[in-house]
């Protein structure tokens, strides 16, 4: 099996989703708290968005895991001079970054579950 072409953009899928989620949550909260707005809807929106972000990161991670497992090498370090080794390295790095992004997204969603007002 020859691995398909890889790109570095896939590698940063997880953290990119986290970044977008973080920015949207921050901006939404800043606007609602400055301009007035319904705090409960804000919290529901942020938590709902968290579920969507976690789903997307989970999917990207699952996809990376599948790519990683389909390779020839059972375990890291994936340091051979072959397209397969490179492919598995990138898939594993993508998987790890998705894991980190998953945790970070959970963290960032927590305040929306806890704080009931802008004070």
């Amino acid at each position: 099996m020859t691995p398909r072409k890889d790109s570095l953009w896939e590698l940063i899928a997880g953290p990119t989703i986290w970044s977008v989620y973080f920015l949207v949550a921050y901006v939404a909260a800043a606007i609602v708290c400055a301009k007035g707005g319904d705090m409960d809807s804000l919290r529901i929106a942020i938590l709902g968005l968290a579920v969507a972000a976690l789903g997307a990161i989970g999917f990207a991670g699952f996809d990376a895991w599948r790519r990683w497992r389909r390779g020839h090498e059972a375990a890291p370090p994936h340091d051979d001079d072959t397209a397969m080794s490179r492919h598995q390295f990138l898939a594993l790095a993508t998987l790890l970054l998705c894991g980190l992004s998953f945790v970070a997204t959970l963290y960032v969603a927590l305040p929306a579950a806890i704080f009931a007002s802008c004070r």
Binding site: W18, P77, H78, F89, A93, A104, V108
Partner: protein
């Protein structure tokens, strides 16, 4: 591409020597005073490193003066005013003139060698960055000797920095001098990103890339998104100081918090921008002294990339005490805790590597272990202050001073000392002495902890930062004295290092080649060193080629790999693909030139004259700088080679010219424009920030005619401006299309039309706020609209210059249908301009209508 056979047939030694001689002639530095025109990465990197090291010593002396003042209560060693200058310059120098530049310096010095490349893709850009740094740095530091240094703290908060009674010319020196250096940092980021992605040796797939290159790639990308917001902030603050545009003046609709946002959107990622390249050196040193490959390579890549992203979600943790909504603080607290995960992962990977290998405790390794110990302590207090309630207690106290010094010295300075000992033989072919090294380490390690550990307590006992003295009997006296003693012990350690570094070593024998028995490519370097970077550009199939590849060094030395000679007498390096490093181009890089220095002097002049409000001089100097840059581009870039391709060795033939995404210039333009777009986003952020804090925006204002009226920009003129700008873009793209298809004359005509229409767009965009009668000094709204219009108009003006430049190149025969780098890059610039103009229109003209 054929591979080297084993065993390789013998080569004629005379031929090998002749090749080497030719190569050396092409790459050697000019002699005499012309030496300073050199652009080779080994020379520029060395000047850069030494200059940054000089600033470290300067910043250190400032710290000693402060510690002397604080040794005893009610001390009058320095005045309050001078103390303010000391702490402001200490922070600014260490951050802007040492920590960030040394990463660029070391990367310029090391990266090409780590990638077995001859040089970085834009050597003159590196040189330009260096001269900018030197000029800006001397300007900022020199202010202290005229009692004119800035006093506002290294983060220069308004209103302290805008109040005429408390802030003199020092703030202008800070703003303009450091903005100038930030431009150099972005230049370095462009250089390093492309260096990592496009200038790796053949076969060095992305999974074989040394970790240092991974870290530098991440840091380059971070610089691109972190520095521009500060440049935007600097612009706003300087406009307020010089022309009274009230961005940060609450009485006229401004808000000082906007500065804090723009500063810390830069300032927090910056901490990681200086930490990651230093820890990257650790990732090179640890495997060498454990004599085994790094454990958890993929995990360290995770740490580098993950930290790069998360570090952008931390900036508000410097602003916990400003009264932002608690839910917002919660987001930033969460991200600040999350970043501890990747940071910890890489430290575990280093420890695992050490445990799996048999560690040789050399001086560099001593500094590495010291660094890890100190950094972990700083990281733990970091986890503490990331929590809002704890931070409210510790905010602006000596606890924070202790925390930040533990992270910065542990995360950056100690690794840099490790790098100094590790790479000294690489640069000078001679080792630093072991015994003084061990003594220096223990002086530094002990001194550091004696100085900074007590500060945690001093802070918890309530001593605030930045006070020039304190009364007796608050329980701070003894602790401060201990800290001062520690600071001097630390300084003694630095002195030992400096003496060992600078002492004459003419009689000391050269070290052996690859003295540490390392596995990575930079240790191919010859003893004594040669100017060519690498004798022949090797084919790589391992993470540690010097350990794993058979007869590797011999084959490199015998010129059996690529580009073993320089037949045409030109400096050349390889360009390869980003993922698998397949060779795609033989890149001719420019040689020595004074133009980068001249350009830096004139551009620097424009910043320096502006500091003293000599605006005509500033404009004249800036125009000369632009002229110098155009001359530089004209003679030194996008040269049409004398033949289309060249045989580079091992049966491989590569093109000498590549335009569009295949070429490095296109990527440089793309990356620069990403950074530029980020600065624009910073200004747009300012606009919406003001919208959130005002009930009515655009506001109702009392204008000059004393009629209270809703002011606004209107739609007509901005619409005309954006329509013309989009037309300018469309014509530029058309010119590129026509030129490539050989319709040279038509393309020239289209370029003339494009330049005329784009110039009209510039005028229309500037006329819009004028026609609406917006008075920039009246309120933050008109000021923001004006600054956005000026920003876009200036960029369009640069676009006009680019269009005319293409026209001139075409007329001069330097741009043809097949050789269209200039045209393709100009079209890319205009893609960004079309987007910028459209966003500008949506923000300033359409958004108010939606209110």
């Amino acid at each position: 591409m054929t591979r080297i056979e084993h065993p390789a047939p013998p080569r004629d030694p005379a031929e090998v020597a002749a090749e080497a001689e030719r190569l050396e002639k092409v790459w050697e530095s000019p002699k005499g005073w012309r030496y300073w025109s050199d652009v080779n990465n080994s020379e520029v990197g060395l000047w850069y490193t030494l200059t940054a090291f000089g600033f470290l010593l300067f910043g250190g002396v400032l710290a000693l003066l402060m510690r002397t003042q604080l040794a005893v209560p009610e001390n009058d060693f320095v005045s309050a005013e001078f103390y303010d200058q000391l702490f402001t310059l200490h922070g600014s120098v260490m951050m802007f003139l040492f920590a960030v530049p040394i990463l660029e310096a070391v990367a310029i010095l090391l990266l090409p060698e780590i990638l077995a490349s001859r040089d970085l893709p834009f050597p003159r850009l590196s040189a330009f960055g260096y001269w900018c740094f030197l000029i800006g740095g001397i300007f900022v530091c020199g202010s202290l000797f005229f009692d004119a240094a800035p006093t506002g703290g290294w983060f220069m908060y308004p209103p302290l920095s805008t109040d005429e009674r408390s802030a003199g010319i020092g703030v202008d020196i800070w703003l303009l001098g450091l903005s100038f250096i930030e431009v150099a940092s972005i230049a370095a980021a462009v250089e390093l990103i492309i260096g990592v992605l496009k200038c790796r040796p053949p076969g060095m797939r992305i999974n074989l890339m040394p970790l240092y290159a991974w870290y530098i790639l991440v840091v380059g990308a971070m610089i691109l998104f972190a520095f521009p917001p500060l440049i935007a902030g600097d612009l706003l603050l300087e406009m307020e100081r010089a022309f009274d545009w009230p961005f940060f003046d609450p009485a006229r609709g401004g808000d000082p918090l906007l500065w804090q946002h723009l500063f810390w959107v830069f300032g927090h990622p910056e901490v990681y921008i200086i930490f990651l390249p230093a820890i990257a050196v650790v990732a090179m040193i640890v495997p060498t002294f454990a004599q085994r490959p790094i454990y958890g390579y993929t995990w360290i890549v995770l740490a580098a990339v993950g930290t790069g992203f998360l570090s952008f979600g931390l900036w508000v943790h410097h602003m916990y005490a400003t009264g932002l909504p608690s839910i917002s603080l919660g987001f930033f607290s969460a991200a600040s805790e999350a970043v501890a995960i990747p940071t910890g992962v890489q430290i575990f990977a280093f420890i695992a590597t050490m445990l799996l290998g048999r560690v040789i405790f050399s001086v560099p390794m001593l500094f590495v272990t010291g660094a890890l110990a100190i950094f972990v302590a700083g990281g733990l207090t970091g986890v503490m202050v990331a929590l809002v309630p704890f931070d409210w207690q510790a905010h602006d106290s000596y606890f924070i001073v202790a925390h930040l010094h533990y992270t910065l010295l542990g995360g950056m300075l100690f690794p840099m000392f490790a790098a100094l000992y590790y790479y000294f033989p690489f640069v000078t072919s001679r080792e630093l002495s072991r015994r003084p090294g061990v003594i220096a380490f223990w002086l530094l390690f002990t001194g550091f902890n004696v100085a900074f550990l007590p500060m945690h307590l001093t802070g918890l006992l309530g001593m605030p930062r930045r006070v020039f003295t304190y009364p007796e009997g608050l329980g701070w006296d003894g602790l401060n004295m201990v800290s001062t003693v520690g600071a001097f012990v630390f300084a003694l350690g630095v002195a030992v290092v400096v003496v060992d570094m600078l002492r004459p070593r003419g009689r000391q024998p050269y070290c052996t080649r690859n003295p540490w028995n390392a596995g990575t490519l930079e240790w191919l370097t010859e003893v004594p060193g040669k100017p060519w970077g690498v004798r022949s550009v090797p084919e790589i199939d391992s993470r540690y080629p010097l350990w794993d590849q058979k007869d590797f060094v011999r084959h490199v030395d015998e010129g059996r790999f690529f580009l073993a000679s320089a037949k045409e007498g030109k400096r050349e390096t390889m360009v390869t693909t980003a993922i698998d490093a397949e060779p795609i181009q033989c890149l001719r890089v420019p040689g020595p030139s004074f133009i980068p220095m001249v350009a830096a002097i004139f551009i620097g002049g424009s910043f320096i004259f502006a500091t003293f409000a000599w605006y005509w001089m500033a404009v004249a100097s800036g125009l000369l700088g632009v002229a110098a840059i155009l001359a530089w581009l004209w003679v030194g870039t996008a040269e049409i080679p004398e033949k289309a391709e060249k045989a580079v060795g091992l049966g491989l033939t590569l093109p000498l010219y590549a335009s569009g995404p295949a070429g490095v210039g296109w990527w440089a333009m793309f990356i620069t424009l990403l950074g530029d777009a980020t600065a624009f986003a910073g200004l747009v952020f300012g606009y919406f920030f003001f919208w959130t804090i005002h009930d009515d925006f655009p506001p109702a204002l009392v204008q000059a005619d004393l009629v209270q009226a809703e002011v606004g920009l209107g739609v007509a003129w901005p619409a005309a401006g954006v329509a013309l700008a989009v037309a300018g873009w469309a014509l530029t793209v058309l010119a590129r299309w026509g030129n490539r298809r050989g319709a040279i004359y038509a393309a020239r005509l289209v370029l003339v039309a494009a330049a005329a229409i784009s110039a009209a767009a510039t005028a229309a965009l500037l006329y819009a706020p004028y026609a609406a009668g917006l008075e920039p000094t009246a309120h933050a709204y008109p000021a923001t609209v004006w600054i956005l219009a000026i920003w876009v108009a200036l960029h369009l003006a640069v676009g006009v210059i680019a269009q005319l430049y293409c026209l001139a190149r075409s007329l001069a025969g330097r741009m043809t249908a097949a050789h269209d780098i200039d045209m393709v890059n100009t079209a890319l610039y205009w893609h960004f301009m079309a987007i910028t103009a459209a966003v500008h229109f949506a923000v300033v003209a359409l958004f108010p209508l939606a209110q």
